[in-house]
């Protein structure tokens, strides 16, 4: 598992201090996927560089299995890094090496013998479904295949933590699904703690058990994914259950966890009001085994929006008027 405590990074630029990270704390247990999402400029890149110790954090700790990477001396850090695999947005493979030699690189610098690292690299390539590409050069592969090789390479030293920096941002939607499924499968199989830094909400929806929202170098919202979505009105809930289209003309938002055994709140509210509200827009998505729906409603004629909110709340749903 990986535990990050009060991680801060201050850059000095043009005589001013830039607080790129202002105290970030995270905790990712083994066998879970945690997503860090945030708008551009939120500090995602700085966070990745500090977590991978490519930049040294100004303060705070990055603990993997009890070893704080931020405070160990350089020689020990090189050892400790083997517990952390990093997957990069553009894979960052070495073009001069074959796919096999790319995957074997971490073993090569760790002093593993030629035959052993070849065997291990082939095994890893099998794990990501690319055993037949062992002798190819990265330039001969598609973007998705390159990312698979990047993942195999990150796993070469048998790490406990996988840090993924925008792992699918350079890929098309179908390849994105394949890579995310692969990461999920590997997490299950190897019991990895996976930390995914991304700007893509769909990545969080698909693979994350918990999520943090990073903004201006701070974690502003965080929690298990179902809890975060259920927190009606929070930025993560709005973003994860985004309404499609412009949803114009609606005046009430309602959020509910759909349960087959229950009459949906909408029907109950309609019965209570004697008129059904019109659905302007809506989205249904499952998070952590719970299916949520969020609808934007237009109150029926003659019914005030606040009356609709009351009727929905009485029926057990969370409802609020749309801010104008």
């Amino acid at each position: 598992m990986i535990t990050v405590t009060h991680l801060a990074k201050v850059y000095r630029q043009a005589g001013r201090d830039i607080h790129a990270l202002a105290g970030v704390s995270l905790d990712v247990p083994a066998g879970t996927v945690h997503g860090v999402i945030g708008p551009s400029g939120a500090g995602k890149s700085t966070l990745v560089r500090c977590l991978a110790l490519l930049d040294h954090p100004t303060s705070g700790t990055v603990e993997i299995d009890g070893v704080d990477l931020a405070s160990v001396p350089a020689a020990e850090l090189r050892q400790a890094r083997r517990r952390l695999g990093v997957v990069f947005q553009h894979a960052n493979l070495f073009d001069s090496r074959t796919v096999l030699d790319n995957v074997a690189y971490p073993l090569e610098i760790a002093g593993v013998g030629r035959r052993e690292r070849r065997e291990r690299a082939l095994e890893l390539l099998g794990l990501v479904g690319l055993a037949e590409a062992a002798g190819a050069h990265p330039a001969q592969l598609s973007g998705g295949q390159r990312q698979r090789v990047g993942i195999a390479r990150a796993l070469a030293t048998d790490p406990d933590v996988l840090l993924c920096d925008e792992p699918t941002s350079a890929l098309d939607p179908r390849t994105t699904e394949e890579i995310l499924d692969l990461i999920l499968g590997l997490k299950e199989r190897l019991g990895l703690a996976v930390l995914v830094i991304t700007h893509e909400m769909s990545v969080v929806t698909r693979i994350c058990d918990s999520v943090s929202l990073l903004d201006s170098g701070r974690i502003v919202e965080s929690g298990a994914i179902a809890d975060v979505v259920a927190d009606f009105g929070s930025r993560l809930s709005e973003a994860l259950l985004a309404l499609p289209g412009d949803a114009a003309g609606g005046d009430v938002d309602v959020l509910d966890a759909v349960d087959d055994a229950r009459v949906p709140a909408l029907d109950q509210a309609a019965a209570a009001l004697g008129a059904a509200p019109r659905i302007v827009s809506g989205t249904v998505e499952a998070f952590g085994g719970v299916t949520f729906h969020r609808l934007r409603l237009a109150a029926p004629p003659g019914v005030a929006p606040d009356a609709l909110v009351r009727a929905l709340t009485d029926a057990g749903a969370r409802a609020q008027e749309v801010a104008r």
Binding site: L53, V86, F88, N92, D95, Y105, H137
Partner: protein, 226 residues
């Protein structure tokens, strides 16, 4: 075809051309080897000590890049080879002959090649160095096992350009005692006014440059897996 007959009976061609070409090859060969041996580490040193580099060191970078390389490169070769005569004498015992000429050729080519090495390393995507570090590479491993292999096609292209430049300089070095094709062209083509010797030397030089470039290009293609 009397001019061909006169060419084939001209001792400048029949007797002097072969040894002269050999001397040129010797000059260029020796200086090329020393240029790569000295210029490669110099280029790497400039790259790692640059601002934001792997071993950023302002003072060392200023001395290497600003003083040694820039000053040497701003001296025209014709002047450099004359100025270096005492150094050459001290180093190889004579200032005459292809081996002596190799000294000034090397001094002129090392900073040139080092700049090309530095530029080649800068062209390597910084993400590759990041990946190498993140996997626990030492700085030495990052340079020798990642950055230099990744830059290899570009380094070979740079070495080829350097050798071609050396061939040009070697003709100049020939005039002040280096011998070789430059001296042959000057002595026979210019001073004895035998334009056909001048033309033959030029043709040989052109063929030499073409051959070097073709070999360089082939090596670049073979090593480039991008």
């Amino acid at each position: 075809m009397s001019w061909i007959d006169s060419l084939l009976s001209n001792p400048a061609i029949t007797e002097a051309l072969g040894p002269a070409a050999l001397e040129t090859a010797q000059m260029v060969g020796i200086s090329a080897v020393f240029t790569v041996v000295l210029g490669l580490p110099l280029g790497v040193a400039m790259f790692v000590t640059q601002r934001g580099g792997m071993a950023e060191n302002r003072a060392v970078n200023v001395v290497l890049s600003g003083v040694i390389v820039n000053i040497t490169r701003s001296i025209p070769y014709a002047i450099l080879m004359l100025a270096l005569i005492p150094v050459t004498r001290a180093l190889v015992g004579t200032s005459i002959g292809p081996i002596a000429a190799s000294v000034s050729l090397t001094v002129a080519a090392v900073p040139f090649f080092a700049r090309l090495v530095e530029a080649s390393l800068r062209e390597v995507d910084s993400g590759k160095a990041d990946a190498a570090h993140a996997m626990g590479s030492t700085r030495r491993q990052t340079i020798t096992r990642v950055l230099l292999p990744e830059a290899l096609p570009s380094l070979i292209a740079g070495a080829t350009t350097t050798v071609v430049t050396l061939i040009g300089y070697s003709a100049m070095a020939g005039l002040v005692g280096g011998g070789g094709l430059g001296r042959l062209a000057y002595n026979y083509g210019y001073q004895r006014y035998q334009p056909e010797v001048m033309i033959v030397v030029l043709v040989v030089l052109v063929l030499l440059v073409q051959a070097v470039q073709a070999i360089g290009d082939a090596l670049v293609r073979r090593t480039d897996h991008r």
